[in-house]
């Protein structure tokens, strides 16, 4: 490798480089500034702005003209001058041309003060323009609720166009027309609908593309910047929060090559709007005689303690959102366990816990996030990846462009932006599909299999080949986790991975799902991953076998559970419900007795452990809304009031350190303790003849309370509303057509042990329109979860009855 290096001189400084690198990349590494607009490290080279012109010579012979630094590969012995007269003249000339058509009205432009064009023109341009003719004007396009356009300001760097083509994999923007008439747009006006679209706001060097929610609300120099970690998916994107006073004004990505590179998803970028939602819970509330009363913290805490102690240890259940911080989860389990209960869980959307005993201690993605790009064969089981983990989907897309085989097994085919091999099967058949894949590889597993097709052979052999090369991966996603046969699917996936010599990985659903394993906020895990003497009740069992008292943390009971009707029924029947929440909601109003406002994302210090097992700490950046208090502090006070040990921490860091201490020596490892035995679990999702299975996918902007309260995201086309997606053939069999209004009925306890709770059929009825979609497997229907109206439904994956209204 070392003799592959060459040396060259930039502005008199000796630099080493790899042959083929561009001058600008070497200069950037050396900290030598070269102005640029079109060049971007992560995008292909267009070399169309000409701002990076420099003077260069090779072997004593100067290049006749200035050369673009972004598109001129370096050579051994090259000499580059970035500040010579010739270079500066060229840069000044380019700048003058760029400004010919650019409006010079920075004071009324949202980008003013943080505009690359403004900066570069200050540094490399002239004071006065010689251009006195009329400037061109370009009509704006409406790109939707996230991105504002002012296309007259566009300098045609085409970064946004290349981003769409190369990173998003969806080329919506283009440069149409020619010369003076060239413009960037969609040509046919349409909303840019992509989960990463907001990144073009950062990429655009000028004020042509700006953030619609943020626009004109603050100036760059009024903002302070705080580092943070995104609280939604399990990527844990690194963020920079831009703050004015005590308000998060906008969110930008913070570069971290290993995690999010320089991108963030729109969910991470725009969810901050939820922080200032009018629905925030801002004061402690107590229900007295059915009426909510505002009380002070002291009174509320006393009431909460009473409510937590009243039911007795075995009758207390604690349900926590998996987006709660490590510190909160740790103190919660400490509080609940000291009260004598092990009934604590964050796996709110899981239905099948039969495999808990085999659970790995520290499950993870199976490999570092960045290595996803190097995989040669990946099988994704039960995952709507672009919705669940937008940036991991981007990594896999990169692998696919590099020639990897990306295979998927799902109840509905996904719209992907790369080549893939998709197997589509209704949930009961997912297991059979997996067995078929194992069978192709000559290691049949006991149980039913489907007929083996060419596609099975293709996928299995590709996985095996990739596995041999050490670049094969089998991933389980959120739809698999929600499946009533998750234990079985997981075991079969593990068996397949073993046979194909692939790694097994888990796509942890939420920002801190993995953290729960380490903090011990699960019924079968203590801090550090140890097992308690006797596991407590899991999230499902706590509801099917209702407790008298509940402690809810950061969740909306009608939205965040695998079976919202079941959850609501159990909570309604409870004597005492203490809810610590970021938001008010009708559901909480109904079931809770004490409401404690806690700090949301950006308002509290904490730690998230992401999918690859990376611990990422962050500080509180703004003051909590109203009277809300950081969660860990609330728990500390509760613990202290009860005179429990271990609640004396002075700050979040100390709580973090305790968990870290408990986890010392713990490394991520996905081995199931008893994988083969688990493959013998019998399917319980086998539907009765003719019944449909509901697939309750979680749309990207319904994933947690914060996102659900972010208005701009809710207006995008990706924010789905309640509908019944059916294969046209399935619809025809049911006598339904597009747009028909139907009644949805999900019976209680249809596959879980107890049928007694919430057997009230009327409560489980929802209405929605039919949408035909030939990507859905026969035998099931996709009915989104977490959205308005879905709270009236039952299990996210489970039987559903559809009746035409008015028929």
């Amino acid at each position: 490798m070392s003799d592959d290096k060459i040396t060259l001189e930039i502005d008199g400084r000796l630099c080493t480089a790899v042959p083929g690198e561009m001058i600008i990349a070497v200069a950037d590494r050396e900290g030598i500034a070269i102005p640029r607009f079109c060049y971007h490290e992560k995008l292909s080279i267009a070399a169309n702005c000409r701002m990076c012109l420099v003077e260069a010579e090779q072997g004593g012979r100067p290049f006749p003209k200035p050369v673009p630094a972004c598109a001129t590969p370096v050579n051994d012995g090259m000499k580059v001058l970035t500040r010579s007269k010739k270079a500066l003249d060229a840069q000044r000339g380019t700048m003058e041309f760029l400004l010919i058509n650019h409006p010079l009205d920075c004071p009324i432009c949202d980008q003013g003060g943080e505009c690359e064009l403004q900066d570069v023109s200050m540094g490399y341009g002239e004071d006065v323009s010689r251009f006195s003719e009329r400037k061109r004007v370009v009509k704006d396009e409406d790109l939707g609720p996230l991105i504002a356009t002012e296309m007259t300001r566009c300098i045609h760097c085409t970064r946004c166009v290349r981003f769409g083509a190369e990173i998003a994999g969806l080329r919506e923007l283009g440069a149409t027309g020619r010369g003076e008439d060239m413009r960037i747009g969609t040509f046919v006006e349409r909303t840019v609908a992509h989960e990463l679209s907001g990144n073009i706001i950062d990429l655009c060097p000028v004020g042509a593309l700006t953030s619609k929610p943020y626009r004109f609300t603050a100036r760059a120099w009024e903002l302070t910047s705080e580092e943070s970690i995104a609280p939604h998916d399990s990527v844990g994107s690194n963020l920079r929060l831009h703050i004015r006073g005590s308000q998060v004004m906008r969110v930008h990505p913070r570069d971290n090559e290993a995690v999010n590179e320089c991108w963030i998803s729109d969910r991470d970028r725009f969810s901050y709007e939820g922080l200032s939602s009018p629905e925030r819970l801002t004061e402690p509330l107590l229900k007295r005689n059915g009426q909510w009363q505002t009380v002070d913290w002291q009174e509320a805490l006393h009431a909460a303690l009473e409510a937590l102690q009243a039911p007795g240890p075995d009758q207390l259940g604690c349900l926590i959102s998996p987006t709660a911080t490590l510190e909160e989860q740790y103190l919660l389990q400490r509080l609940v366990r000291t009260l004598g209960s092990d009934h604590i869980d964050t796996r709110l959307r899981q239905q099948d816990f039969r495999g808990d005993a085999a659970d790995p201690t520290f499950p993870w993605l199976g490999l570092p996030i960045a290595e996803l790009e190097q995989q040669q064969g990946v099988l994704l089981i039960g995952s709507d990846l672009r919705q669940e983990q937008p940036l991991l989907a981007h990594r896999l897309r990169m692998a696919a462009l590099d020639g990897a085989t990306i295979a998927l097994l799902n109840p509905y085919a996904l719209a992907l932006n790369h080549a893939s091999l998709q197997l589509v099967a209704a949930p009961p058949a997912l297991a059979s599909e997996l067995r078929a894949l194992s069978q192709v590889l000559g290691k049949p597993v006991q149980g039913a299999t489907v007929e083996i097709s060419d596609r099975h052979r293709q996928i299995a052999t590709a996985l095996q080949a990739a596995g041999k090369a050490g670049q094969g991966l089998v991933l389980l996603g959120a739809l698999a986790e929600a499946d009533p046969d998750y234990s079985l699917i997981r075991a079969l996936a593990a068996a397949l991975a073993e046979t194909a010599e692939c790694r097994l990985g888990f796509l942890a659903a939420a920002a801190n799902s993995i953290g729960s394993r380490l903090a011990g906020s699960l019924p079968h895990r203590l801090p550090g991953g140890a097992a308690p003497k006797r596991p407590g009740l899991d999230a499902q069992a706590m509801l099917t076998d209702p407790r008298q008292g509940y402690l809810l943390w950061g969740l909306e009971p009608d939205r965040d559970f695998a079976d919202p009707s079941l959850a609501m029924a159990a909570l309604r029947s409870a004597k005492q419900v203490v809810a610590c929440s970021h938001f008010k909601s009708a559901a909480l109003d109904e079931v809770a007795d004490v409401l404690l406002p806690i700090s949301a994302f950006a308002e509290t210090a904490g730690t998230f452990v992401n999918a690859e097992g990376r611990w990422q700490r962050f500080q509180g950046a703004v003051a909590p809304a109203g009277d809300a208090r950081p969660g860990w502090k609330v728990l500390r006070v509760l613990g202290t009031m009860l005179e429990f040990d271990g609640f004396g921490q002075n700050n979040a860091r100390e709580v973090h350190d305790e968990v870290a201490h408990a986890c010392s020596g713990l490394a991520p490892d996905n081995r199931l303790s008893d994988a083969r035995a688990l493959t013998a679990i019998t399917e319980r999702s086998a539907p009765s003849a003719g019944a449909l299975t509901r697939i309750g996918n979680l749309p990207i902007y319904a994933s947690d309370a914060l996102v659900r309260h972010a208005p701009a995201l809710q207006r995008t086309p990706l924010a789905e509303s309640l509908a019944v997606y059916l294969h046209p053939q399935q619809a025809a069999d049911l006598g339904l057509t597009e747009g028909d209004q139907v009644r949805l009925i999900q019976g209680a306890g249809s596959h879980s042990g107890s049928g007694s709770v919430g057997d009230n059929a009327a409560a489980k009825e929802a209405r929605a329109p039919v949408v035909l979609d030939d990507r859905i497997a026969l035998g099931c229907t996709r009915i989104p979860a977490g959205v308005d109206g879905s709270e009236a439904l039952g299990p996210i994956i489970g039987p559903v009855r559809i009746e035409k209204i008015g028929a």
């Binding site: 083929g20 292909s44 027309g177």
Partner: protein
Amino acid sequence: MSFRNTPLAVIQDVDKETLLTPELRAEIDKHVAKYPPEWKQSAVMPALTLVQDHNGGWLSRELMDQVAAYLDMPETAVYEVATFYAMYDLEPVGRHKVCVCNSISCMLGGAEELMHHIEKKHNVAPGGTTADGKLTFKEFECLGACRHAPVVMVDKAYHECVTPDAIDKIIDDLD
């Protein structure tokens, strides 16, 4: 990243047999065959020309979308090509196209005068079509025959050193 050396193809999930007409597809295939298989989008210009000729001289958005689908390109990429080159028309045109070059040589050689002449005589502005639907009159970029400026392309034929009188005759002889 570096220069892009692979095409950005997209998977257009349509049955290619349903696109355009069998004859057009066969003609386009001849052009596609000239390029490496992964570069079939290189045939986009001849494909658009074929489709335009077949459609009475202009391209509708639907037709461009079909070309995109046929060549597995993003639609936008086809719009970019079709809006860049002057020889594609995106709105209905007359029976004939009179394209006057107004790039530097022709401009110096009298193209402007020629254009005014046509404009007056036929009551049509550049880019427009005469009321009788006979002519679409276009201002063109360099036609590559600068030595004999001014140059006018009428439909597919070049006319060089064109004077106002000459253009009158050429137009009269049409139809």
